[in-house]
Structure formats: structure tokens, C-alpha cells
């Protein structure tokens, strides 16, 4: 039986089908989860996809985090369930305090869509073991509110405990502090990532297939555990 990876759809989620495709290409079975059903359907891991849940009205991720399913997810994440929040998913994870800090308006104040070079800074999280520490990958980024901010103490802690998972290289597209593109929680099972690995899983439609590693990593972790 292959691993089952849930993909949550909130009203306004956009990349949910893409995340499901990436899960499938990685060799797992995608399971779609509806925000209003408080049931994780026994999945082995969860992806919160990109998009504009609730139109990003108020603040990106602010309304989605109150979804009935999110209570379940917060509890399960505490018990070690691997969770990957991509873009809007990252914003939801910050709003629900599963991850520290917040994502604010891009420093340039414009939506930014580009192929972005990243360095994987932590290859030990549930979602990054298929990468080498320090490996550089190119995957798309596309967001309006991607500027990662946190107070100094939090930044200091993230840096000193290796919880910065990925960093922008060459160009910082949104003004994120310390060029942060992704972070994880203390246990390393919850990862938030601004760029979109699910858009770099096929040569035909992406600029590379270098995003697939996020999805294959979590499968390995599940096989091992």
C-alpha cells in the first residue's frame, strides 16, 4: 500500500491539484481533504497548498486558519504528522502558530512570479532528506505576501537551531529577513516554504524537476518510521 498524502482545499486554494499531482509523481496516493470536514482521513502526511484562501482578504491565511480541519491538523502536527505548507499554506501555518513569524507584503509591493534559486539549508526535515545540505535548486516562486518577518529573538533561534530550511540565492524576491524562503518547527515535521516545489516536478511544465525532492523525502520518512 502506498503512502497517503492529504492535500487540503480551502475556499480559494489554487495549487491543490498541482500538489496532488506532485504527490502522485512522487509515488504516493494524494487524498483531497476539505477544509470544512474535521477529519484527516488517516493520511500519513499533509500538504497545505498555495493559493489565495479567502482571497487573502484581511491577511494571507488569516481566515483559513480557523477552518474546522485546522484544529485537527494542529493537534496531529503536534504528534509528529509531517506537514508542508507551500506559499499560502506557509501563511496559514504561521497564522495558526505552528510556525513562528509572519509573511507580509513583498518589499517591492508587487506580485512576483519568477524562477528562483534556493539553497537547501536543512536536509534533515521530514520534507528535505532527499536533498543534500547546501544543495541549490531552481523552483518557481509566485506570491504577493512572501516577505518573512519575525522578531530578532525568533530569527536568532531559527538560525542557531538550523530551522531555516531554505534560503533565496542570487535575488531576494520579496525582502524576507535573512533571505529566508522556508522554515520548520522544532521537531522538523512541519515545514513552511514560500516557493512552489509542486511546480517543478515535470520537465514539460516546469523549469526543472528539482521540486520533486520535497515530496519524495516525506515518503522515505514514512517508509522508515
Amino acid at each position: 500500500m502506498s503512502a497517503r498524502v492529504g492535500v487540503i482545499t480551502f475556499p480559494g486554494s489554487l495549487d491543490d491539484r498541482d500538489a496532488a499531482r506532485a504527490v502522485r509523481l512522487a509515488g504516493a496516493e494524494p487524498v483531497s481533504l476539505w477544509h470544512a470536514e474535521a477529519d484527516l482521513l488517516g493520511v500519513d502526511a499533509v500538504v497545505l497548498p498555495g493559493g489565495f484562501s479567502y482571497g487573502d482578504y484581511l491577511r494571507a491565511g488569516a481566515i483559513a486558519r480557523f477552518a474546522p480541519l485546522m484544529d485537527k491538523l494542529v493537534a496531529a502536527a503536534g504528534d509528529g504528522l509531517p506537514v508542508l505548507g507551500i506559499c499560502n499554506g506557509f501563511q496559514v501555518l504561521c497564522e495558526s502558530h505552528l510556525l513562528p513569524g509572519a509573511l507580509t507584503r513583498n518589499a517591492g509591493l508587487h506580485f512576483v512570479c519568477r524562477s528562483q534559486r534556493l539553497r537547501i539549508e536543512n536536509a534533515d526535515t521530514a520534507w528535505t532528506t532527499d536533498y543534500e545540505q547546501g544543495q541549490e535548486v531552481v523552483i518557481p516562486i509566485k506570491n504577493m505576501d512572501g516577505c518573512y518577518v519575525a522578531d530578532e529573538a525568533t530569527l536568532e533561534e531559527l538560525e542557531s537551531t538550523g530551522r531555516v530550511v531554505a534560503r533565496y540565492v542570487d535575488v531576494n524576491p520579496n525582502g524576507s529577513l535573512n533571505d529566508i524562503a522556508g522554515i520548520c518547527n522544532e521537531a522538523g515535521n512541519v515545514v513552511g516554504l514560500m516557493p512552489h516545489p509542486e511546480h517543478a516536478v515535470e520537465i514539460l511544465t516546469g523549469t526543472s524537476t528539482e521540486g520533486l525532492g520535497f515530496f519524495t523525502s516525506v515518503l522515505k520518512k514514512m517508509v522508515l518510521s
Binding site: 475556499p11 480559494g12 514539460l204
Partner: protein
Amino acid sequence: MTEQVHTSVNEPGDERPGADPSVTDPDLSASEPAVPPVDVDTVARAERTPERELPYAELGMKDDEFARVVEILGRRPTSAELAIYSVMWSEHCSYKSSRVHLRQFADKAPESDALLVGMGENAGVVDVGNGWAVTFKIESHNHPSYVEPYQGAATGVGGIVRDIISMGARPVAVMDSLRFGPPEAQDTRRVLDGVVRGVGGYGNCLGLPNIGGEVVFDPCYAANPLVNALCVGVLRPEDIKRAIAPGPGNKVILFGAGTGPDGIGGASVLASATFDEESHQKRPSVQVGDPFMEKVVTECCMEIFAEDLVVGIQDLGAAGVSCATTELAAAGTGGMDIDLTLVPLRDATLRPEEILMSESQERMMAVVEPAKVERFLELCRKWDVPATVIGEVTDTGRLRMTWHGETIVDIPPGTAADEGPVYERPYEPPADLGQLQADGPGRLPRPATAEDLRNTVVWLVGSPNLADKTFVTSQYDRFVLGNTVLAMPEDAGVIRIGDGPQGIALATDGNGRYTRLDPYAGAQLALSEAYRNVATTGARPLAVTNCLNFGSPEDPGVMWQFARAVEGLADACQALGVPVTGGNVSFYNQTGSTPINPTPVIGVLGVHDDVDRRVRMSFNVEGTTLLLLGE
């Protein structure tokens, strides 16, 4: 949906033609105490007060057009009926100036096995093989984008996307073709920045990849930018939906956003003419978009289609409820009863005339069999989409509307939807054409030295029309949905359909300067450029959409440009064997009496049997031979 050329009647404050204080309906407020005493112009009253004057001229209606309405109804129209006729017979709904010319697209249409739905519906549909069909269309939102660039452009995207949804398709990509004034002009900054943010803000939030478009700068667009948005959708041929309301007893459901006072600058003249009330004298003529609402409406529609819950569906565009009800009824069994009081309002003070003319965005109207209504509403609740049954289909041949129990509309719907006026406007070449054509490139100095040549190249490369467009394209999501095979900086966008291997290619092109010099050839050049851009990706061109941006049709020079451009396009489509499946005409693009360069923007759709074999623009294999094709 389409744009409204707003008759500017923003300040009707001091003159209220037709206000007749002697006429009141005392019984109404008594019977409905919860409602403020509303002074409604009912059909009964229209019969009683034939002499009452109505502000039809302010609504853009000519004397003879108004006379025809009176003839059709056998009495004066009520103010609500006048609202319907004035908007349905307006240029952009009735195509009254362009219709006689646009016929050529059908008359000269080449044989095509692929064509499933041709011109006349919300958008054309073509069969692309392997059990898939594609629907696409381009539309303008020029004037609103000058008034309020962000919202104008955003709602332009929203409108064309709803057109595609109403064909029963899932929208899968958008494109935008833009024209601005000179980049150094102060106002261009405002307009360009707002328009690009608006196209991106709406399209990105809907999750539709932007796979191409154009940005052109020319002084003629300084006070009249062009914002043309294209959307393409995918469906199964057997799932095509139409804008029809058949079957008496079927329910009419309005769903999506509430109705507010958006874009009813025109309607306020009716309200203030009929009712002496200050709050109705100033209504915004800008429409504001809510892309999140459109996204949930889209997903809701997809589930509704998947369960086959509608017999007819129509989006609410420029003419709102007026257009949807008259067109659905006219194309169905022929009759419909609507209770306008049931329309969910964002502003409780709206008058029935205003409800009829409101251009509030993100609204759809569906016709649903009674047994399926509950499931329909259930899916709407799932997606948090407000939905209300507001009436039902009848076999009376009349469109009837009531307001708090009083009949305020009773018309044969076809007369509003299909029997609008048709003009054969006079046309002749613009006076300065000969002079323009005589001013050939031969008179220009040639670069004489290597240095001159270098300077010319540098000047060209640095010119805004050739410069890098990343400022624009980086604000658009081209990756979402995961099927984008080619997008910027390629000459055509290519997307995969289903799980592949088939796909489609799309390009839009237009050149106002060529078309100004020779509208016949200019339109053909635009078509052949788009055709080539699609073909060079390896696709087989299949169908054409077009957005015809011109000045005032009342100017014979403009009308001539229009007639010639349409003729050129129709002839070229015939020669190339690709039918026009739909499009849009935008007139009155001018500043004072100076029209823009005539700017037909042509979109061509092609098919890929295997997108893996798409050809990129870049030379990516070493040692290949370069060949130049053509003259």
C-alpha cells in the same frame, strides 16, 4: 462582461424631466409596511399615464428607438422596461452599428469540422480531439480601465472568465493585450501600473495562468488605453452549456455576489427622473471586482455541471439582470416570471431600475429543473456562494417582473434581446488617408555609416515597444494549474489539456499603426502574425477570436476603418481556413473627436496532438541549420 460606454449623466440634480408629483401609488406603502414607501412605475400606471415623459435620451436612446418600444408594447414603457430596452439596445449589447459587417464572419466562414459552437453564443467552442473541446474569447474593458485602472482591468478579466464558465467549461488560462500612451507620460504610469496589477490581482487570485499577451505604447492611447482580456476553457463536447431557459416551471436562480450600485451611472437618471430622491443621484459608474467570489463561483459551477444540474446558464455582464433574463427567456420557451424583490441586494435602497441595470460583478443566472433545485442550492452552500430562486420559466412568451407584488415589466423578451435596431452607418475613407499613405518610408533617412546603423539598432532595442516586458509578466502567475508548457517570453502560450499529450496554443496580436494606414491589410497582418506565432510552436491553427477596438461608429472615417478591417479579417480567415468563433466590438475609443488608431486584436487558437513536441523560440540545440522562410 463587456464594457459600458457610460453616458455621462452624473449630475442630474437640478433637472428632473418627467418628475410628476401628482402621480402616486398610495396603496403600496400601506400593504407593505416593512418597505419604505416606494414610488414605483408599474405597467398599470404606464397605461394610465401615457403622457408621462421618460428620460430616454439621457439613457442614450434615440427618438425613433423609443418610438419603437412604444410600438412594441402598445403603450409607453415603464421606467423599468425603459431600463431594459435602453441597455439591451445600447451599442455594446446590440452591436447595432457593427452587426451588418460582422455577418461576413459567418458568411465567409470556411468549412470546419472542429466548430461545435459558432458566433453568437457567449463564446465559440471547437473540438480539439481525444474527447476534448476548447472555448475561448477575447473582450475589451477599455473605458473602465481608464477611469479606475485596477478595478477596470480586474473586472475585465473577471467578465471574460465568466463567459467561458457559462459555456460549461473550466477556465484554464488567460491572456491580456494592452495598449497605453507614451511611457513617459505621467498618466501612463497610473494607468499601466493599475491595469497590470488589476489583471494580475484578479487572474492570480482565480488561479488561472497568464500565458501571454502584448504591451504596446502609442500616443493615440494616452487617454484611451486598451485592455483586452482573453480566457480559454476546456470541456467535454457533450457538456456544452447554453444561455437558454427552456421548460415552463423550471426555476431561475441568481447566484454569486449580491447586487449593488455598481456601474449604474446611467440608471440614476431614471431613478432621479422618476423619484425625487437625492441618494440616487450619484451612483458610482465603476465596478469593483471580488476575485475570491469568482473563484468560489467557478468551483461551485464545476460541481454543478458535473452533476448536470442546469438546463441553461448565463453570466451577468454589462447589462446585468436585464441581459440575462431577456436573453435566457428569448432563447428558451419564451417566457419568464421574475420577482425582482427577491434579488439579494448589497444596498437595500436600490430601485428596481437600478437592479436591472446594475453591473455588479461575479453573478450568474441558471435555469434549473425543480427537482434539482435543492441539490443546486446545497452545492452553493458548500462553497459559501449566495444563491436565490428569483423566478421561473413560463410559456407565456412574456418576460414579466414584479416588485412588491406590482407588475413593472411585461415585454416580449425577444424584442429586447434580438430585435434591437440595426444601423447601416455611412462610411468613407478618412480625409487624411491619402496623405498618410503617401508619406512612405522612402522619405526617411537611411543609416549611412556603421555608427548610424549601430545607433538605430540601439534605439530600436531600447524603444518601449520592443523592450523587455518582465515588469508586466513577472506580476502574473504562469505556473498555476501545472499545465503551462510555454508562456512568456515565447511568442505563443501553450498549455497541456487533460493529462496530455494533447494541448493548445494561443497568441494575440494587433497593430494599430498598420491598420491606420490600411485597415484591410492591417487586420490581415494581425491575424497572420497570431497565426504564425501559434504555428511556430508546432500547433495546427484552428480558430479565431477578435476584439475590434475602434473610435466612434458615428464618424464615417472610423466606420470605414471598421468595415475594411472586418472585411480583411473575414477574407483572411477564409483564405487560411480558420473560422471566427467569437469576439467583441469596442467603439467610442477616442479622445474628443480624435479616434485611436483602429486596433483589431486577433487571437488564434491552435492544437497540439502532442505537447511534448512543442517548439521553443530559443535555439537550444547546437549545430542546427538556420533557414529563413517566406519572402
